[in-house]
Amino acid sequence: MEPVLKIEHLTKVYPDGTVALSNTSFDVHPGEFVVVIGSSGAGKSTLLRCINLLVEPTEGDVIFKGEKVNQSKSKQVKHIRREIGMVFQNFNLIDRLSVLNNVLHGRLGYTNTIKGSLGIFNKKDIKEAEAILERVGLKQQKYKRADELSGGQMQRVGISRALAQMPRLILADEPIASLDPASSKNIMDHIYNICQEDQLTAIVNLHQVDVALKYATRIIGMQHGQIIFDGHPSQLSDKVIDEIYDTKKPPLVNAQ
C-alpha cells in the first residue's frame, strides 16, 4: 500500500542553533496509529509541526499523499493542512467563542474568506459539527463558551475541531499531558476509536510509555532529534526504553 506520509531526511535547525531534528526518515501507511515517545526536547513537537509546515524544515522533504508539502505554494499548503487535523496539549480553543463555533473552525479552510471571517458557516457544516459533538458526548455543551468546560471536555472539542476538517491524518501533540488520569484515558480512547472507525491515520506524541504500549500499532522512539527505535510495541524492550529516556544512571558508588 502507498504510504500516506513520507518523511525524507528531515532536519530542523532553529535560528539559535538548536538541532531539533537531524536527518529523520520514515513512512507512515494508512490506518497506522503511530506513537512517538521521547523525553522533552527530543524533537517530537518539531517533527509533528514540520509535517503540516507550522515549522519550516531546514532540510529534507515531507511528502503527504504524493505531494511535497515543504515545496508547495502557500495556498497549496493551506489545502494540505485541511486534510491534516491537529490536536494540541493546551487544547488551543478560542475561549470566548462557543463550543460549536470552535468546532466549526475546522471548516474555515473550506469556507470563503468573508464568510469564514464573519463566522458564517453553511448548514451542512453546522449539522456535521453537531454530529461530531454528539459523537464525543458534548451535544449538551454546544452553546457554552469554550472556557466554561473542564480540561477533558476542552480536549474533546479540540478533537472535534480536527475531525470537522474531514482529515486523512491526525497529528496529536501530547494530547493528554495537561489532563488527569481519568480524562487522559477517555481522550486516548476517543482518539483511538475515532481513528479506527473512520480509518484515519494518526501520529501521537506521548510522554507515557505505558499509554503508548496500550494504543500504538507502531512506536517511534526519539532522542536528540534522531529516531533510535521504530517498530511494533512488542519489540520495545526495557533496555530501549532506558535508552530513549536516558535513564541508565551511573552507579552511585564507583567501584574503583
Partner: protein, 261 residues
C-alpha cells in the same frame, strides 16, 4: 567574611552618593527657579481671597448656558474616542508583531503613531486652530489624533500578548490570514479593545477641557472666556460641572468594563 563587608561598604557609599546627588539637584533647581517657602506662604492669603471672594459662591444661574458647553465637551471626547478607536484598530493590526502582514509595515506604522502620540493634544490644537479657526472641529480633531496615537500603541501591545498557540491551531486547520484575524485574534483582543477604548474616553474628556482653553471649544473655552472677562463665579460653576462630568464618566466606564470583561 572580608568580601561581604566590602559589599556592605560599597552599598552604603552608593546610598550616600545618591542622597547627596538628589539633595544637590533639588537645591540647584530651587535656586534656578527662585523658589522660596516665604513666597509660598505669603501667597496663601491671596489664594484664599481669590477662592472665597471671587470664585465662590458659584453662579448656579449660569449652569444653563454652561450645560451646552459641557455637552460639547462630552461629544468631543466621545467622537474622538469612537473615530480614534476605529482608525487605531486598523493601525494596531499592522503595528503588532503577531498580526502585521510585513515587518516593514510594522516599523513604519509604529514610527508614524509614535510621532502622533508624542505631540501633546494641546500642541495639536494650537496647530489646528491656525488652519480651522476656534471651535469644536479643532478640539475633536486633536482628540482624534491623540486617541489614534495612544490607542494604536496599547492595542498593538494587547495584540502582541495574545496566545500564539491558539493562532497556530487555526493555521493548522488551513485557515487564511483574514479568517485567523477575525476568528482567532479578534475574540482574544475584544476585552482589551473595549477596556482601553473606555479608558481613552476618560482621558479625552479630561484633555478636551484643556484643549478647549486654547480654542478647541466646549467647556474649556467657556472657562477661558470666563477668566478673561473676570466672570469668576461662572468659572467656578464650570469647574464644578467638569468635575461632575469626569467623575461620572469614570464611574460609568468602570461599571461597563466590569460587565464586559
Amino acid at each position: 567574611m572580608g568580601e561581604i563587608k566590602d559589599i556592605r561598604k560599597t552599598k552604603r557609599l552608593q546610598t550616600i552618593v545618591i542622597l547627596v546627588f538628589v539633595c544637590g539637584l533639588t537645591v540647584w533647581s530651587a535656586i534656578g527657579t527662585d523658589f522660596s517657602f516665604y513666597e509660598v506662604f505669603s501667597g496663601i492669603g491671596l489664594i484664599s481671597n481669590f477662592v472665597f471672594l471671587d470664585l465662590l459662591p458659584p453662579d448656579v444661574s449660569a449652569s444653563n448656558s454652561l450645560l451646552d458647553a459641557i455637552l460639547e465637551t462630552l461629544y468631543m471626547g466621545f467622537v474622538g474616542m469612537v473615530i480614534g478607536a476605529g482608525i487605531a484598530l486598523v493601525l494596531s493590526f499592522l503595528a503588532a508583531s503577531t498580526t502585521t502582514p510585513h515587518p516593514v509595515i510594522q516599523v513604519v506604522v509604529r514610527a508614524f503613531t509614535s510621532i502622533i502620540r508624542n505631540i501633546p493634544g494641546l500642541i495639536w490644537a494650537l496647530i489646528l486652530v491656525a488652519s480651522y479657526g476656534i471651535g469644536v472641529t479643532v478640539g475633536t480633531l486633536s482628540l482624534i489624533l491623540g486617541s489614534i496615537g495612544f490607542l494604536t500603541r496599547v492595542f498593538a501591545d494587547t495584540l502582541e500578548e495574545i496566545d500564539t498557540g491558539k493562532i497556530e491551531a487555526l493555521h493548522a486547520t488551513g485557515s487564511n490570514y483574514f479568517q485567523i484575524l477575525a476568528q482567532g485574534v479578534f475574540p482574544q483582543f475584544l476585552p482589551g479593545f473595549v477596556a482601553w477604548s473606555l479608558y481613552n474616553l476618560e482621558l479625552n474628556i479630561r484633555a478636551s477641557t484643556i484643549i478647549g482653553m486654547v480654542g478647541g471649544g466646549g467647556i474649556g473655552f467657556a472657562i477661558q472666556k470666563g477668566i478673561k472677562l473676570f466672570q469668576y463665579k461662572e468659572v467656578s460653576m464650570a469647574i464644578i460641572l467638569v468635575l461632575i462630568l469626569i467623575l461620572s464618566t469614570e464611574f460609568l466606564t468602570s461599571k461597563i468594563r466590569e460587565r464586559i470583561i
